[in-house]
Amino acid sequence: VVSSRSLLALLLGAISGFVIGVLPAVAPRSRPPEIAFVPRTSGTSLSEGMYSGADRAAREAGFRLYWNAPTREDDVDRQISLMSSALANNTGGLILGPTNGPALITKLNEFIARRIPVVVVQTDTPIPAGRYITSVTPDQDAVARLAATRILRALGGDGGQVAILGLDRTAPETLQRSQYFLQYLSSHRKVQIVAQQRGTSLAPEAEQNASEVLDTFPRLRAFFAVSATATAGAIQAIQRRGLAHSITLVGCDDDLFLIPNVREGSLDSVVITDNEQVGYLAAKFLLDAIAGRALPGPRHIEPRLLTREDLSEHQ
């Protein structure tokens, strides 16, 4: 007969053996502190460039960068869910490319209430910049100026009909680019802005939008596409109609496919920003804020116009 004390000794021994055996396999590994980066979407040249810069800055400071994004640019629910996960995982700070700024204000205020710094990229911050929030974005005025200069040069002294593609209220930078572009062309009497077409995050819909303009204005001379999706849609619409040599298309933002399009001539030029610099600066500001320094005010990065000639020079 085994006494109750013997059973207790066996039981305690078994528990101790199990704990000692299993502990190395389940013990949490120490991880570096983390910052989160949630762009509008990922898997594009634009987002990969920003990732690369932010990751570099995070590593330099001994931080880990958590990176994830919705698979569609318009998936605001998924973006809110990723922001909530970052909060739940006690992130040190957030870099955000807002999918739909106004829809994210409540969530952004949660970060600010918890004194977690936020740096907004891709577009202006949807709430005023302050102690815990700032932005690093392309200089939208310069984007429009570069595009306007290029289009005016392509039109020559004759002028002609120009259309703007891709205006999207959920992406305020598209509205800013359009507004500045109109200002730059307002003094050119021979240039007529015939359409300001709505934008979308879906390429087939963007193609449809561009096609509507081409059908309505057969004498159109140039497009200014204010987003990467609008640019991709315009390329498709122009190619389907065989108008590549008669319409000048100037696009915006560095998407996966736009640079080959510039190289082959289906896109005249594209206004791009150094995305790696955007990502690096955003992460650097965030890490400085985590270290106790104040966030700087909104920072604008100078864009450049990429043409076929530039690509030839680089080859």
């Binding site: 004390r5 013997s6 207790l8 000794a9 066996l10 039981l11 305690l12 021994g13 078994a14 528990i15 101790s16 053996g17 199990f18 000692i20 055996g21 299993v22 396999a25 979407t41 990922s42 898997g43 990969e48 990732y51 690369s52 990751d55 958590y66 990176w67 994830n68 994004a69 919705p70 698979t71 569609r72 998924r78 496919f257």
Partner: protein
């Protein structure tokens, strides 16, 4: 002579004229017995726990693995995005979500060959992922190796995802990618060397690529999975075998 700290009933005393020898009493024997039982149980359970963990973490546990999708049971698989269903002996992703994944297998598998028949339902990308860990819903939201067919540049792609995307270089295919056409994938993973061979159904080889990944960025262990990007896809005859 009695030891002042011990009670008389706890110590058996043997006396002669000049010396006193103390012998352990019954409680000391009992304590020794309990200690022995404790140590014995701890040692046995420790060894059993270690053996169980070693078996569970084995690099070959569950291999060879295959799924012909003959029943509606897809309990082995975990979806990260996409709209997946089993249909006529194949797994179908009806969504054209970018980076939809379906993952199965052991996180401890290391060197293995994964094979499957893959068809694209629309222009985009579809293929297999291997050595997958830390998967989440998102375009490149996993750590692992992707091998797939891409219609945009008619190529066989091998790349590494670690919540970002590194693509050494795409391998142009010898013939255009057909939609709803079966391609047989064989992906061999040994250390940081990845070898991929793609054959068109009832036809010869259309693509072959061999890449040796950087040891810094090379995932060394993980599950397998099905992945598509911007296109729906169909997969059948998934098979994983230990690499000899």
């Amino acid at each position: 002579v009695r030891h002042p700290q011990l009670e008389s009933e706890q110590v058996a005393q043997i006396r002669d004229h000049s010396t006193t020898v103390r012998a352990p009493g019954p409680d000391v024997h009992q304590r020794g017995k309990y200690l022995l039982l404790f140590a014995l149980a701890a040692a046995v359970v420790f060894v059993l726990t270690k053996v169980t963990i070693t078996v569970l973490h084995s690099t070959v546990r569950g291999l060879p693995y295959s799924d012909r999708f003959e029943t509606g049971d897809n309990a082995d698989w975990s979806a990260y995005g996409g709209n997946w269903k089993i249909e006529a002996g194949s797994m179908v992703n009806e969504s054209d979500e970018r980076g939809a994944k379906l993952v199965a297998g052991s996180p401890y598998w290391t060197d293995y060959t994964v094979q499957a028949d893959v068809a694209l339902r629309s222009p985009g990308e579809a293929g297999l992922i291997a050595r997958v860990s830390d998967p989440e819903q998102g375009v490149d939201a996993y750590r692992g190796i992707y091998v797939g067919l891409r219609t945009r540049d008619q190529s066989l792609v091998i790349g590494v995802a670690d919540h970002d995307w590194q693509e050494p270089w795409p391998q142009r295919l010898s013939s255009p990618i057909g939609l709803n056409t079966w391609y047989h994938f064989q992906v061999h993973l040994q250390g940081c060397k990845v070898n991929a061979i793609v054959n068109r159904e009832h036809s010869s080889e259309v693509g072959r690529a061999e890449v040796t990944l950087d040891s810094d960025s090379c995932p060394l262990r993980g599950k397998i999975g099905l992945r598509s990007y911007d296109a729906g896809g169909i997969w059948k005859n998934v098979r994983v075998t230990k690499l000899r």
